[in-house]
Symmetry: none
Subunit: 123 residues, 4 copies
DNA sequence: GTGGTCTAGACCACA
DNA sequence: GTGGTCTAGACCACA
């Protein structure tokens, strides 16, 4: 379910964060589903438990999951999650497009990139 | 001409890198223009010369500027620079769009963002 | 394992770079093997950690190793490494041959050198 | 006659050195021909006179030219020059080939490079 | 423990 | 003057 690329320069806790986001987006994880316990996941992935904790902590701060001591960590109601996640994605996209415009990439070239990404598996 | 945000988490050498890119994009710096000498810029910005060096070195590795001992640092011929800069922008845009798609932003929503950014001052 | 010549005019970080390449070529270092930590190697060789860092950074930029904070530095998958290393060797060889041609060494003389190097231990 | 690439990372005095070698190899400069005076060449190329001096000094040390105070610099007898130059080229070629062999480039691949360089304008 | 960023400052080759 | 190499050493985020 979770996949980590140890060769990537992206911090593991960041990759874990995105894993959860992706699983929610794909509908694999739904509202109130339980996430794997920190220590169990740490063993499965061969990763330091602190690293898992950090990922969960960030997800909690961003309103994606909620944790209760002794019971574990759970996915927040989907609507809220989706809003939080998409807002981040929009902000990233806006930055990338402003940058593209700045360096002389024109509108039709930008649209071409959109077409390429969304070709095939339209979602 | 160069502006550094010392509060930012973004490394200073990275900010300097982007400063140079921006100045070239804006046409303030052109082919074969001389950049400020490492040590002079270090004093102006209140930054260590090594940090400036690192930024210049990265720009050189990416084909944006060239440096020669005893002469200074200069902007590369425009064609090469533009290619290098746009290639980076495309890569950033692709990442942002893949992320948007992953979190459930659909194609027409992505296009709307493109339209917003490119409205008015079409380039 | 690593040998540095402090008398040489060749920068230490450059010598370290070649040391790693050599150890990979010889099969002493293989895919995903861990390199010595920056600071440990610095102490062993009596060299500043920054100098080791610089060598590792260059190797990373050239696709030979990858480094992650907290985990260490590792050799990239063999295929990629081999490609990177051989590409450098080809470039060096091309330069040497162009120079040879320029100074009047003819083709059969160049071939003789090739024969001499590859005599005996054909690889 | 002399061409300098100011964008190259190769020191100018080194480029000048090679210019002279090339002109001798091509037969443009012959035994006892006079080289341009240091100061005249410096003005022509827009280069510091010290830089020209350094190039001439190195050529003299390597037995390629000889200088007499007040009269100028001259090309040494061709036989001697050729021997000196080619010896350097052979040494460079040997190093490049040993390196190529070390990193797993085999003999026929090396020969292919030779063929490519010497194709067309066989000398 | 591990690499990354940064300061402070010396010395070098080249122009 | 100009960039390149190197030392010494501090502090940081990540594991």
């Amino acid at each position: 379910m979770f996949t980590i690329n140890f060769q990537s320069r992206e911090p593991i806790y960041e990759q874990l964060y995105k894993n959860v986001i992706r699983l929610i987006s794909l509908g694999v994880l739904n509202s109130n589903d339980k996430l794997p316990p920190v220590r169990q996941l740490a063993i499965e992935l061969g990763v330091n438990p602190n690293t898992i904790s950090k990922a969960y902590k960030n997800l909690e701060n961003d309103g994606v999951i909620y944790s209760t001591v002794g019971r574990g960590s759970f996915v927040c109601p989907t609507a809220k999650v989706t809003a939080a996640i998409q807002s981040q994605a929009y902000s990233l996209l806006t930055t990338a497009l402003e940058n593209a415009k700045d360096v002389g990439i024109n509108k039709s070239e930008a649209i071409q990139v959109v077409n390429k990404i969304y070709s095939g598996g339209e979602k």
